[in-house]
Structure formats: structure tokens, C-alpha cells
Symmetry: C2
Subunit: 438 residues, 2 copies
């Protein structure tokens, strides 16, 4: 096995996702929907594993308690007015006066002609609000306007008091949420990198103002650590510390975890020290006091917030880029996804050497399935071909049942990354997998 | 311990959900959003466990393979035109001519006066389409109309060919999906029973036409079995077999699993033998042939579909109703949620008998947390009070560390359902829990 000097590209990942059924374009048989995707079998399993790893990383923290929340997608005008999204969440937009084609103004050189019709006649640049709007209920008046949330965080802020009081939790604590969010991007791009419908994993940490900076540093370290635990290449990760010019006016500090994509260093996760901006805004707009009472000092204070925010889909894309390897095995080029076994959609594949050995191997496969492992059974083509298929799916282990298996009660276990094979006892298969999954 | 002759009511469940933080109304601090809810810490964990149980029940089937899918919420007009939702998915609506209040026509007696203003002057009954509509992209023309999906099933049908070919799967097989769906109900009601934003777990089973009926019966049995595995009271479950009059025109059979709610027997899950209606519709409308080629007979056929469809939120509500018990313990009335331990949001709680024993018990608690168990630590109030709190949350086991624990390395384990206590070794805590979770 030797690696070949090839590089992963966005095109290779898109093609692999389609070929192996990780991702399909939404409503492809009807021409598709721009910037919106469906996740196939392997994609859904990979996403589930990513979410699980994140939940575990949150749940296991020693620093204090993390509670979970699932807010709704539909949300009323008042929330987004308080958050500033109604007045500020927009992109600059420009139309071609001739063909009416619409562009994001910062995506296009307005000194040049329209790429669509070739004329050069532009409207003024206007603001385009990126929130999807709909109407709730049968009454078609203004009071019924609702938005698809453009981020999950606001559901955490507006439930802060409810969560704190019903769970009898002490400061500091965090509220974590996974869920969909929607942004009406004028020009969605780079596959899963910038989508109109996407999924966020956000955690808002509430603490005393005097602990805000220390807790911000703590979470930066924790979050960078998370990527280690799911096997992301550390040399492709870095912090970008936002400069005072980049920071939002209310922000007290922000570090982006950046990953080295083929199209450059890009934000993967944002960790932001937001001060008391969000809770203060919602206190003002709702008329409800969201301050916390401190028994020790008999005073009230508005908690400070440290936010950790990452996109499931962007992490999904990162994991694919990071796992993608082309190497030479027995003189043949193979594509292999070297996922951390925890993230691998399929944990193991079971092969009968020839079809007449199907029955005993299928029994072993079913047994593993009943134990709750996500496993595959493949009986067609040469064993080498079957290895290649599983390599492309990122399956960490393959087991082959051959003519000797009947007598020695052993199978050949083959490791995805090393391609090394070893003979193991059938009743050791679970242990073999558990060792990989550690 | 003796049971008291009380009955569970919707009001009691709503109050419990609010008190313990299972469910909050969305944007409550802004007056709420009708028919839309947020799930708090315990609610989110319960939902996760319900989803996990369903995924496992699908994944472990011996009958054939179940693949997973996550389709998008946003979907184009063409999909819902083909499915019939654009022309048929509506409720009858009527307005009061005097006060303009709007009602579902079948919810109100039109021979009587308007319950809102007392006048009796109605508009004609009109159809109100229940799909939420929005616009995609910056162009504000008709081509950009998109809908929030009113059900998840269509994403499965339109991806059928993609899923079948990229996963090299043989007929019969199923595609399972969990995800949000949206229906603009004129009058949402009964808490989580009929919501505007809800979550579905749907599985579509694709098979040869000649096996359709047998597979339909197979899945009816399997699905009823599922409710047993999550501990639902079997005497409160029954099948309602749809009569020819109730069946959709294309349907070849439909059984609803009904649960005996305090407000009557209501549908919990629908199992439907849909024939080839859905794939035929999408073949026609998309112009893509969705038929399957049979190698053996060298002919093509349109697979038949058996559907299993259940709402996460409705099952969540069912689980709460089913688990809710009021009984007498030591002369005091207690509320206890007798969840199947698999579904319980918190698996165990750890109590130091007095505060000066906090440290060793907190160490044990952290150790369990690091092992991945969802656990709680409570140091305040009498042990009896702490038991009551955990009973109301449905926590199956509580462990108390007392003055003897230091010397005998044991804790007192207390069972939620029996209230029985036993002394167990600290290193047996994991085993004790694993036995419960079986």
C-alpha cells in the first residue's frame, strides 16, 4: 500500500457522494432545487454519528451541566425583531435591468456586463432579507407572518428562563440544540458548504459576567479538542481570532475554527463571547426580566453568553474531505474514506467467500445486526472488489467466511486503513469492532 | 405503595410537561405561537430515545434491508402537484361575516351563532390548502414557490430510484426517514396531538406486487410489536381496519394502530398498503421511469408500497399518558412516570445523603456521565423529596451515598416502580443500570 500524489477536490467529493448515495439533490427527478439537498442511506448514518459525537462531547463535559433543547423552526416576527434579524440579516442584491437576472452584489463585478445576457445595465444595490417568510393560520393578515428560523440560537435565549427554572440548574450551565435552519441565499455555493436549508449544532453557555472571558477560553479549547476526538487532521485545523474590525458591535471576542478545504481556509465553527447582548435584547423586547438572582450576593445580574456554533452539513463535508484518500493497493488505485470508526456509516461488512457459504455468514451478519451494529452483507464479485466497495463507503472492518471457517470457527478480518488481514474467532467479532470504536 | 383511583387527563399532562420542562410553547415570552412547541431538556431526551427505539426497530428487521434517508423540508411545487397535495390537501373553512373570525367548517355548527361574536352570518364553505408556502431565491416570480413538506413520505418516493441504484439493494427493501413536516391547521388542538409543526417517522416498503398483501400483514404485526418493546400498555392498543369507504381511492388496505387516550381511541400509527399509486404518479409527472427490472423474468414492474407512518410528537404524548401514574407511597400521593427505562430521559440520579458527602458521590456521578449515561445529581432536600422529583421525571433508578458507603463501598439503590431499596456495591452500578435497560 502506498499513497499516490493526488489531491482531493470538491468535484471528487460531489461525485463520490452521488455515486455511493451519501447525498442527492432534492427533487432531482423534477430538475432539483437549488441549494437544497437530501441525504441518502450513508449520508443519513454519517449525520447521525456526527450528531451523536457532538451530543456526547457536550453531555460529558466536567465544567458544568449541559441541558438539551429542541426549538421549533417556525417562529414569530417578534423574536427576529428583537434579535436584529428583521432589520440586519440581509445580503446586497442587484438586478440586470435587461434580463432581470438577480445577483449578490458582492459576488459580481458591476463594472462588467451581465454574465447572463451580456448587457451592462444594473439597478441600484438593494438589501435582500435572507429569512424565509410564510403565513401561519388561515387568517391572511400581517399578524400571521412567521419566519423559518435563520439560526437555532434564538430559541435557546428565549427559553433560557424556562429551562433554568424547570431544571433547577445552577449557574454556569449550557443549553445545547441540534436543528434545521434556513437562509435564502441569493447564490448558494460549494455543495454542502453554503446551503439554503441546513442544520446547526449550537450550544449557548450562560455564566457570571466575571467568568465570561475564562469560560470563553475554556470552550475554545474544548471545541478544538472535539475535532481531535472525531479524527480530523490537526494540521488542517487552526483558530482565526477575529480582529476588532471583524467583531460584531456587541461581541467581546470570537474565534473561528478554520479547516483547510481545497478552496482555502474556511470557517468550520464559531466560538463567540457574546456578553449579555442577546438576553438584554429579549428582556427589552418581551418585557420579561431574564436576569438571574444571585443568592450569595442578593443581587441580580444578566448572565453572559459564550456560544459554540457549527453546521452539521459543513462538518459532514469536512469529515468527507478529511477522510478521502487515494492510495495504491496491490498495484491498483483505490479510493478510501478513512473515517474515524465512530463516524463510519457502516461498521463492518460480512462476505461469504463463495455463494454456497452464504448461509453461515448471513447468520453471523444477522446476529450483529440484532446487536444493534450497522452492518452490510455482500456476496457478489471477488473479495478484492468487495473490499474496494467498502473502502469507498469508509467501512472500517470486513470479515470473510471461507471453506476453513466451518472447521476452525474463524473468519478473516481485514482492516480498512492498513489493509492488513488476520484470522479471528467468530465469537471475537464484537470485541474486534468494540476495539475499533473506542 | 398502593394505587389511587385517579385518572390521567390532558390537563395533568400539559401541566407536568410545563412544570418539569418537557415542553414549552414556542416563543412563550412573546405570547406564544399557536400549534407550535419547543421541547425542553427532558422532552428532547425523551424524543431522542423514541427516535432511537424506532431506528433500532427498523434496522433490526430480519425481513430484508431497511435503508435510511433524510430529505429536505423545502420542496418544489412539482412534487406536491404529482402527489395530489396541491389540489386535494385542504380543509373546509368558513368565516364569520360579522367579526371575520375563521373556523374549520367541520369543527363548528353552522346553524348556531359565531362563538366569538354571537352573530350568525357565515360565508360559504371554501377549501383552505394546508401547505405552508414560501419563496426560494431572490427572484419573486412564480417559479420560486416552494412548500414546507406536509409529510415526509414523498421524499422517499422521489428518491426511490436513486437509493435503489446507489446502494445495490435487492427487492424487497424499505426506506425509513425521520423528519419534520408542517401543516397549516386552521385549529390546532389537544396539545401535541395536532400541531402545525411536527415530526414524522415513516418507512416505505417496496416489494413485488404479488407480495404486497403478505408484506402488509407482516408490517402490521411488526409495528404493533414495536409498541410492546417500548412498554406501551397492550390493553390500550388496538387495530382499526379501515372500511372500503374510509380508504383512499388508490389504497388496497389500511390499518390504524389506535391508542386509548383520555379523549377517546385515536390514531397513533397508520400502516397502509398503497399499491403502486405513488411511484406511478411520480413516473408520470417527472417523465422518469421508476419501474424495476426483474432479472429472473426479464420484465419490468412498478413496485408496490407498504407504508408505516407515525408522529414522533404523538408517540411522545402517548408515552407520557401511558407512563403517568398516581399512587400512594408512605401515605403520600406521588406522581410517577413509569417509562420503559430505554425511553427514560434520565437513567439514574445520584444523591449524597448530606452535603458533606457530596464529593465522593459527585465522583461516581461524573464517572457514569463519562461512560455516556444521561444522569442527574441532586443534593438538596430530604431523600424522600429527591425521590419524588425523580419519579416525576421518570428516572428508573436512584442511588444514595450515606455514612456507611465510605466503609462498605455500597450505595442504596432504589427502584422507581417498586420503590424497593437494596444495598449494592458501587462497582455494580453500571450493571444495575444495564439490567434495567435490557
Amino acid at each position: 500500500m502506498s499513497s499516490v500524489p493526488t489531491t482531493v477536490t470538491l468535484e471528487k467529493i460531489v461525485a463520490l457522494c452521488k455515486r455511493k448515495g451519501f447525498v442527492y439533490q432534492t427533487a432531482e427527478i423534477y430538475g432539483g432545487l437549488n441549494g437544497v439537498y437530501d441525504f441518502g442511506h450513508l449520508g443519513t448514518l454519517l449525520k447521525q454519528n456526527i450528531r451523536h459525537a457532538w451530543i456526547q462531547s457536550m453531555q460529558k463535559t466536567d465544567h458544568g451541566e449541559i441541558l438539551f433543547l429542541e426549538g421549533s423552526i417556525l417562529s414569530p416576527h417578534a423574536v427576529w425583531e428583537a434579535s436584529g434579524h428583521v432589520s440586519n440579516f440581509h445580503d446586497p442584491m442587484v438586478d440586470c435591468l435587461n434580463c432581470k437576472h438577480r445577483y449578490r452584489a458582492d459576488d459580481i463585478d458591476l463594472h462588467k456586463a451581465c454574465p447572463h445576457c451580456g448587457n451592462k445595465a444594473w439597478t441600484d444595490i438593494r438589501d435582500f432579507n435572507m429569512m424565509f417568510q410564510t403565513n401561519l393560520g388561515a387568517a391572511a393578515d400581517n399578524t400571521s407572518v412567521a419566519y423559518l428560523r435563520p439560526e437555532t440560537a434564538q430559541a435557546i435565549y428565549i427559553n433560557f428562563k424556562n429551562v433554568a427554572s424547570t431544571n433547577r440548574v445552577k449557574m454556569p450551565f449550557g443549553i445545547a440544540q441540534i436543528g434545521k435552519a434556513f437562509r435564502n441565499e441569493i447564490t448558494p455555493k460549494q455543495f454542502l458548504f453554503r446551503m439554503r436549508e441546513f442544520e446547526q449544532m449550537e450550544m449557548e453557555w450562560f455564566c457570571k459576567p466575571e467568568n465570561g472571558l475564562a469560560d470563553f477560553e475554556y470552550w475554545c479549547e474544548q471545541r478544538m479538542n472535539f475535532f481531535k476526538t472525531i479524527g480530523i487532521d490537526q494540521t488542517k485545523l487552526r483558530f482565526h481570532v477575529q480582529t476588532p474590525e471583524e467583531l460584531a458591535h456587541y461581541s467581546k471576542g470570537c474565534k473561528d475554527v478554520e479547516y483547510h478545504f481545497p478552496f482555502g481556509w474556511k470557517e468550520l465553527e464559531g466560538i463567540a463571547y457574546r456578553g449579555d447582548f442577546d438576553l438584554t435584547q429579549h428582556s427589552k423586547h418581551s418585557g420579561k426580566d431574564l436576569a438571574v438572582h444571585d443568592e450569595a450576593t442578593k443581587t441580580s445580574y444578566m448572565p453572559h453568553v459564550v456560544e459554540s456554533s457549527i453546521g452539521v452539513d459543513r462538518l459532514f463535508l469536512t469529515v468527507l474531505f478529511d477522510a478521502y484518500v487515494e492510495d495504491m493497493v496491490e498495484g491498483e488505485m483505490r479510493v478510501v474514506l478513512k473515517f474515524h470508526p465512530k463516524l463510519a456509516p457502516i461498521k463492518a461488512a460480512f462476505f461469504p467467500l463463495v455463494k454456497k457459504l452464504n448461509e453461515p455468514m448471513h447468520k453471523i451478519y444477522l446476529d450483529m445486526k440484532r446487536k444493534g451494529y450497522m452492518v452490510d452483507f455482500d456476496e457478489s464479485g471477488s473479495i478484492g472488489k468487495r473490499y474496494r466497495r467498502q473502502d469507498e463507503m469508509g467501512t472500517p472492518a470486513c470479515f470473510t467466511y471461507d471453506f476453513e471457517s466451518e472447521t476452525d470457527q474463524c473468519v478473516t478480518a481485514r482492516n480498512r486503513d492498513t489493509t492488513k488481514q488476520e484470522r479471528i474467532n467468530i465469537d471475537q467479532i464484537s470485541n474486534y469492532l468494540e476495539n475499533l470504536l473506542k
